[in-house]
């Protein structure tokens, strides 16, 4: 189980570090969150505090959904503005 958590974390981190596609960065972030969710539940299972772990995971999932929805909107706006999903296009942010 610990190996699976680390695999998910490594896959998510690799996805974020290697790609320049903003949508894939979001998918990598989602994989990282999955690893954290699983880690919390496994920790709750190991200590016998499943109820507390589930309560924290529910909060985590709510935050995850909001982050994904808002980030998808931001990425869509960037795509409409630049015509591309490449992260290097948004290097020069002007205020």
């Amino acid at each position: 189980m610990i190996a699976l958590i680390i695999v998910l974390f490594v896959a998510g981190l690799y996805c974020i570090l290697v790609t320049r596609n903003l949508m894939r960065v979001l998918i990598g972030l989602e994989l990282l969150t999955k690893a954290v969710t699983l880690l919390l539940i496994v920790a709750g299972y190991a200590t016998g505090r499943q109820a507390l772990a589930q309560a924290i995971v529910i909060t985590l999932i709510m935050i995850e959904v909001v982050v994904i929805a808002v980030m998808a909107g931001v990425i869509l706006s960037i795509f409409r503005h630049t015509g591309s999903l490449d992260a290097s296009n948004v290097k020069n942010l002007k205020g």
Partner: protein
């Protein structure tokens, strides 16, 4: 036991598929499959409520958001797809090797069960914890959901400016 091992192997393959596949749509579907498999694991770890949330919200709602966002974007041309797939192979070939190494190193490590006591903590159910012990979390969740709703409304709002 065999089912657990099958589940773990399936999650690893689904995560690899999600990261390495060429199409964004397939990546989003791979993420949904990963979420669904993780939900089954959560059920098997005596966390049914978290499993239900994972299945309905992560595998359902988030996939719908991803697919909607991807469908609003312009698809790549055939030439661009071929060029990108060549670049992707160069970028992603180390990932299966890294993941195999991680599995080899950490496959022997197990969840420690010696700390598993605390009978008073086990008696509590999720409803009690969520509504009594972690009630401030609920307030935070409401604020975050409202922030998300307003943020999404602002981001998806059509411009009123006339050309």
């Amino acid at each position: 036991m065999i089912l657990d091992k099958l589940l773990l192997i399936s999650v690893v393959f689904a995560a690899l598929w999600t990261v390495m596949t060429r199409s964004l749509l397939k990546a989003a579907l791979g993420l949904a499959v990963t979420s669904a498999l993780i939900a089954v694991i959560l059920f098997r770890l005596d966390s049914p409520l978290a499993g239900v949330f994972e299945l309905s919200v992560c595998a359902g709602l988030i996939t719908a958001v991803f697919v909607s966002a991807i469908s609003l974007m312009k698809p790549l041309t055939h030439k661009e797809t071929i060029a990108l797939s060549r670049a992707r192979i160069k970028k992603y070939w180390p990932l299966p090797i890294i993941i195999s190494a991680v599995i080899l190193i950490f496959s022997a490590s197990t969840v420690p069960t010696s700390i598993r006591v605390l009978p008073e903590a086990m008696e509590q159910n999720v409803q009690n914890v969520l509504w009594n012990s972690r009630s401030l979390d609920l307030f935070g969740q409401i604020v975050i959901v409202l922030a998300g709703v307003f943020g999404t409304v602002i981001l998806f709002r059509e411009s009123n400016k006339k050309p």
